[in-house]
């Protein structure tokens, strides 16, 4: 009889626990995990390197978006699962200008203030089968002109005037992606470990200053 009572109590508490999770389940159902193509979603400058650590640290307050001057910060409003309401940047729509405001305003450790040249949002990759100057000796140079970091990030390859080549200093802000006039978007931002630079080696972080 006593055991029966005990089991009943356990059952009641389990039921209570399950019931108390219903609101969270509802909220979760409303924002299913749907991940779009990864290259369209790049992290914010100064973000924690591990996306899961970023999702744990971010409280979804939206302050980074509210201070962003070019309004490039977007949020996973309806999809996302665990990282619902966390921010991302889609450089093809609007690119980061490396102004530091989001890093400064973030209340948590999701975004921390770091020097601009230490930012790691990825690295730009140029598809040489789609870029005008690389394909047919066209005249463009928009990406080199817009780059906020100058020659250390993207420059014309020697003796190949107007043919842009990504350098080690690229932090992946995506200005070149946004400005590129070619509709097929020959420039993408990829994770730094997957990127190559002008010398066709795996890129490493430059920390020499």
């Amino acid at each position: 009889m006593r055991r029966r009572r005990f089991l009943q109590t356990i059952g009641a508490y389990t039921a209570l626990g399950v019931v108390s999770m219903i609101p969270y389940g509802l909220a979760r159902l409303l924002s299913p995990s749907v991940h779009a193509a990864d290259h369209a979603h790049i992290p914010l400058p100064g973000a924690l390197a591990d996306p899961d650590a970023f999702a744990r640290a971010c409280i979804g307050c939206g302050l980074c978006g509210e201070v962003c001057p070019p309004r490039c910060v977007e949020f996973k409003q309806r999809e996302g699962g665990s990282d619902v309401n966390t921010p991302y940047i889609d450089p093809a729509k609007k690119a980061c200008i490396l102004c530091n405001k989001c890093m400064e305003v973030c209340p948590t450790d999701a975004l921390t203030v770091i020097p601009i040249r230490d930012v790691d949002m990825g690295i730009a990759q140029i598809d040489r089968a789609a870029c005008y100057p690389w394909v047919d000796e066209g005249v463009c140079g928009a990406c080199v002109a817009i780059c906020p970091l100058g020659d250390s990030a993207i420059s014309f390859e020697f003796a190949n005037i107007y043919k842009p080549a990504v350098q080690e200093g690229c932090v992946g802000c995506g200005q070149c992606v946004e400005i590129c006039p070619e509709p097929s978007l020959p420039i993408r931002i990829v994770a730094r470990s997957e990127g190559t630079v002008a010398k066709h080696g795996v890129a490493t972080r430059r920390r020499s200053y």
Partner: protein, 333 residues
């Protein structure tokens, strides 16, 4: 001796002040995204390229903010964010629930963030659950919703008024923290109405569309309207649970003056949180919203500085029950 009703105390105006504060904060949450839009237009230095409706936003916001700032691009950053987390003239403030859930989710104490929750925690420990009654942007909508429900009831529409156990919300808070740990994200943000309202207003105005949180919030409004009066705040809100725990030994309390009470029970009817002021039953749930003070016809409810509620003081001295009691005692003794 009947107390004169024509000299009401100033405390009863606090409820109007509360409504002014709630309205201001809600309007602020609508205004801030527009200010952000204006800032981005200023930063782009391209007024001529704006669309007509964007030009309207630019002009209105310029007219609105020009008297206060020199450089809208940076000066308007003084007030940013929502009640979930924001900056207010350099002071960073965060909801204690945000702090607790973030620590639970990340297993890491990031002190600059934890300290942003310090002022709200201290205020809550002194004044109780004031956030819920005086600041929360969801309260603004829920109380209007409650008024709508009252009108509908008067018009004869049958609406539910179920009463559940108020301790459910502590369980929800606990479940939220456990889920935050297990799933590695701040789960309470997904179901906490003030956080939802703050960011959904921002999404709708600055990002073009509501997110999924808006659907959840509408569900809570329907729950409040059809199932239980103020049901989400009373029984389900994880933030309310945390504030109730923090405000358990609050210093400023609304208390009943038994000599002035006439047992009219208006306070019990008006109480949004379903408390029992008539029998001195305030407890940790009271959010000092002063609605009962405003409605009391004999000014029998006052603020007192004490850390515990009074025990039940018996029927009010101006009511029938007390008079009958006195008569019985006289005839008996």
């Amino acid at each position: 001796m009947k107390k004169r009703v024509d000299s009401p105390s100033a405390l009863r105006h606090l409820n109007k002040l509360r409504w002014v504060v709630l309205t201001l904060i809600f309007l602020m949450l609508i205004l801030l995204p527009f200010i952000h839009l204006y800032q981005t237009y200023v930063a782009a230095h391209a007024y001529d390229l704006l669309l007509p409706h964007e030009k309207t936003i630019y002009d209105v916001m310029e007219w609105f903010t020009a008297p206060f700032v020199n450089d809208p691009e940076t000066d308007l950053d003084a007030i940013k964010g929502t009640t979930w987390s924001g900056t207010f003239f350099g002071l960073q403030l965060s909801d204690p629930l945000a702090v607790v859930s973030q620590v639970a989710a990340s297993f890491f104490l990031y002190w600059p963030f934890i300290l942003t929750g310090l002022i709200p925690v201290v205020v809550t420990m002194l004044l109780g659950r004031v956030f819920c009654g005086w600041i929360c942007p969801a309260t603004f909508i829920y109380e209007l919703n409650d008024t709508l429900a009252a009108w509908m009831r008067r018009a004869g529409v049958p609406l539910g008024d179920k009463v559940y156990d108020k301790r459910i919300k502590y369980l929800i808070l606990l479940a939220g923290l456990v889920l935050s740990m297990l799933l590695g994200s701040v789960m309470t943000a997904a179901i906490y109405p003030p956080a939802i309202i703050g960011r959904e207003l921002y999404y709708a105005i600055a990002q073009g569309a509501f997110g999924s949180g808006a659907v959840f919030f509408i569900l809570t409004i329907i729950f409040d309207l059809l199932v239980a009066r103020r049901g989400f705040c009373r029984y389900l809100c994880p933030g309310g649970a945390l504030y109730s725990l923090l405000g358990r030994y609050r210093v400023l309390r609304i208390q009943r003056v038994v000599e002035d009470c006439n047992d009219c029970k208006k306070c019990n009817v008006v109480c949004e949180f379903g408390l029992d002021p008539l029998q001195d039953g305030f407890g940790q749930e009271c959010n000092n919203c002063t609605a009962c003070i405003a409605v009391c016809p004999t000014d029998a409810l006052v603020f007192k500085v004490q850390t515990h509620d009074q025990a039940f003081q018996g029927p009010g001295h101006l009511g029938h029950a007390y008079r009958n009691q006195q008569v019985e005692e006289k005839s008996g003794g």
